[in-house]
């Protein structure tokens, strides 16, 4: 099968998974205790019961829980409504993010904030990948040397450090050294952000924390993979041929170690995404993670539904990309 056919098949495969995830989230919301309408109108003050009932009915119709004749809408009908809205990229309006008393459209909020998350994640992902490769190669080629031992211990300590606490410590150190905590402020995000020097200044600390978080995970992997491969016979052959150690490592050993590394990194992507939520919260970075946590703290159901559809979608796209890179890494793999 051709590569194009494989990619099309994988893209189509995303659809049932996303449908399953939305169905799971939808069911969870439905079986959870508490009436969402009461949570929604919690702030409305009414003198009389009639006023309260009118507000309740208005909101319930608004939310699609009751139809215009005040009959309860069955759950599957609401789910079909949700999916048909999803196809039109309409996530409804937020309860927490409001402007002039009206909830803002969630699609708009997400399109404004998704780029911050994507920039932060891509920068730190590639930084950690590069650093992990460098550290892994240094450790594996000089096994049991001073550098290997100290790097291994540092990776172990970093692996045991809770990511959110690492972010806090980075903040503390930066505050004492540079009098700069890295907590995002308003002027950091004036458009266009890519030409804004302030933006890069505030990007440094969150990206550093997230890089270390991914680095400690990947470097151990690269080291153990390389060590296993350096013991193989064809490495000895390559050395015996008189190749210099640089080309032995990068042309013979590293390329063969890439496949298992990519596999494990691909399967650990949700963990990295979860880590980015923590980092965003600590540094007040206005990405999707902060949006999601605000929505969760203020019980903004439509917003949580939207972010819980976006996160698996991003993850599935990322996993698709890792699967496609297999073809370029390992020529034996044919689709």
């Amino acid at each position: 099968m051709s590569l194009r056919g494989y990619i099309i098949r994988r893209v189509i495969y995303i659809v049932p998974v996303i449908l399953g995830v939305t169905l799971m989230n939808f069911t969870l919301i439905n079986i959870s205790p508490g009436d969402p309408v009461i949570i929604r109108i919690g702030l409305i003050h009414c003198e009389t019961e009639d006023c309260y009932n009118a507000a309740y009915n208005r909101e319930a119709i608004n939310m699609g829980l009751l139809d215009s004749n005040l009959y309860t809408v069955p759950w599957f009908k609401r789910y079909i409504d949700f999916v048909s809205d999803l196809l039109r990229l309409d996530f409804g309006t937020s309860w927490y993010y409001t402007r002039a008393g009206q909830g803002r459209p969630i699609a708009q909020i997400i399109s404004e904030h998704a780029k911050y998350t994507i920039i932060l994640n891509i920068v730190s992902f590639f930084a950690s990948l590069l650093l992990a490769t460098a550290i892994g190669v240094v450790s594996a080629t000089r096994q049991n040397s001073f550098w290997d031992r100290s790097l291994t211990v540092a990776m172990l300590l970093g692996y045991a450090m809770p990511l959110f606490w690492l972010a806090k410590l980075i903040m503390l150190v930066s505050f004492y050294l540079f009098d700069f905590t890295g907590v995002a402020e308003g002027d950091a995000f004036t458009e266009p952000i890519l030409l804004n020097g302030q933006f890069y200044k505030f990007l440094i600390l969150p990206a550093l924390a997230l890089t270390i978080g991914g680095l400690v995970f990947m470097a151990r992997l690269v080291r153990s993979q390389l060590l296993e491969i350096l013991r193989q016979d064809y490495i000895t052959t390559a050395k015996a041929k008189g190749l210099d150690s640089r080309s032995v490592i990068y042309k013979h050993a590293f390329r063969n170690g890439l496949l298992p590394i990519v596999t494990i990194i691909g399967s650990s992507l949700p963990g990295l995404l979860g880590g980015s939520v923590m980092i965003e919260r600590v540094f007040g970075w206005p990405g999707l993670g902060t949006i999601f946590l605000n929505g969760a703290l203020f019980r903004d159901y439509p917003l949580m539904m939207a972010t819980n559809t976006i996160f698996p979608f991003l993850f599935l796209i990322a996993r698709l990309l890792t699967d496609i890179t297999y073809v370029f890494i390992d020529p034996r793999i044919k689709y």
């Binding site: 998974v17 399953g20 995830v21 799971m24 989230n25 969870l28 919301i29 959870s32 205790p33 508490g34 172990l156 300590l157 692996y159 045991a160 450090m161 809770p162 990511l163 959110f164 606490w165 806090k168 903040m171 503390l172 505050f175 905590t181 080291r223 153990s224 060590l227 296993e228 949700p270 963990g271 995404l273 979860g274 939520v277 923590m278 919260r281 999601f292 946590l293 969760a296 703290l297 019980r299 949580m304 972010t307 819980n308 996160f311 698996p312 993850f315 599935l316």
Partner: protein
């Protein structure tokens, strides 16, 4: 004249140490071999010491608290630890010879006891970890917080492993449509970051009334969504083991499915299970601490994560308040990781790097 023995010793030069080792390994069962391997690994032993120390600390603090509660209920003690102005029933004193007996050093207090006049004190001789903004001794908070922090991680991990083992065994043994359904469900559960899914569920179910408070909800749902990894490993183990001859032989003898699963295949899958539990506890403790840190824990109980959440914004001004709970979370995760890695290498030397 060269005898056969001489020729052999010429070819295989074994030093005395290796010979002695081979001698002791003879007839030893698997667990004593594993124990010998762990004992050789310095990092693994360090992890084991940390883990043992923390578990002992959790047990001692739990017993002290239970004893205090029991004595208060029995009417032998009159203080109520939940009242700020009340007597302080539980305390562990340290008396150094030569110092007056009337003013001993109090090592541990009841974790909710408040020193009204000793607020936000930096670490000192009397309060080695300082006091927090409520006037509570941080050393006592950390000491008594060990129970909840470790117990939650342990219970959470054990439940996921039990659910994962049962489902993975069924799917691996019977295969077919059960296996397909299980794989699709795992795919769904794992397409969401676990941290995000947990927050989503906690927010939805925070009003639910279950005995055990908020953390019971956390543990129940953690078990319901976290079993996928264990199930996949057990499933693949079953797939490779059920085709083996000893299973065929047992089946030919007329053994039931249950007997084959519980008496033959599961004991052979014990090594990966032990590794999952040890390494998983570290991850679970980290996840629960992260949930507490971001405000989805239960502020009414004493645990490291909730203390960390309470004082996280004081880091710049009063660094000792959040630092010590965080340090203990760090040591716990480190200990379990070190010990788990060493256990993995010892149980399955092929995986060793």
């Amino acid at each position: 004249m060269a005898t056969i023995e001489n020729i052999e010793t010429d070819e295989f030069i074994l030093d005395e140490k290796t010979l002695r080792e081979i001698e002791t390994m003879k007839g030893a069962n698997q667990w004593s071999i594993v124990w010998r391997r762990i004992k050789k690994d310095k990092m693994g032993m360090l992890g084991l010491y940390i883990v043992t120390f923390l578990i002992l600390m959790a047990f001692v603090s739990w017993i002290l608290l239970q004893l205090d509660e029991w004595l208060t209920h029995a009417g032998l003690l009159y203080g109520d630890p939940n009242l700020i102005s009340s007597l302080n029933n539980l305390y562990v004193e340290l008396w150094i010879p030569g110092v007056s007996k009337s003013n001993p050093i109090v090592l541990f207090n009841h974790p909710t006891y408040q020193f009204a006049d000793q607020v936000k004190l930096p670490p000192s001789f009397i309060h080695p970890f300082g006091t927090d903004a409520n006037g509570q001794d941080m050393l006592s908070r950390v000491f008594f917080g060990a129970t909840n922090s470790l117990a939650l991680g342990f219970i959470g991990q054990m439940t996921t492993v039990i659910i994962g083992t049962v489902l993975g065994s069924i799917a691996g043994f019977y295969g077919g449509i059960i296996d397909d359904i299980l794989q699709r469900v795992i795919e769904l559960l794992y397409s969401m970051p676990q941290f995000i899914l947990m927050i989503f569920i906690i927010v939805l179910f925070e009003d639910i009334q279950v005995p055990g408070g908020k953390y019971a909800v956390v543990v129940i749902f953690f078990a319901l969504i976290g079993w996928g990894g264990t199930a996949l490993i057990i499933r693949s183990n079953f797939f490779s083991l059920k085709e083996q001859d000893f299973v065929e032989a047992e089946r030919a003898l007329g053994a039931s499915d249950m007997r084959i699963i519980f008496k033959h295949i599961l004991p052979n899958s014990l090594a990966p299970l032990i590794i999952i539990v040890t390494l998983g506890i570290a991850g679970t403790i980290f996840l629960f601490a992260a949930l507490a840190f971001f405000g989805f824990g239960d502020a009414t109980i004493v645990s490291w994560g909730d203390d960390l959440n309470k004082w996280q914004d004081q880091l710049l001004e009063y660094p000792w308040m959040p630092m010590f709970p965080a340090l203990f979370i760090f040591f716990t995760v480190l200990g379990f990781n070190l010990f788990g890695d060493s256990l993995r290498d010892a149980l399955d030397p092929r995986l060793k790097d």
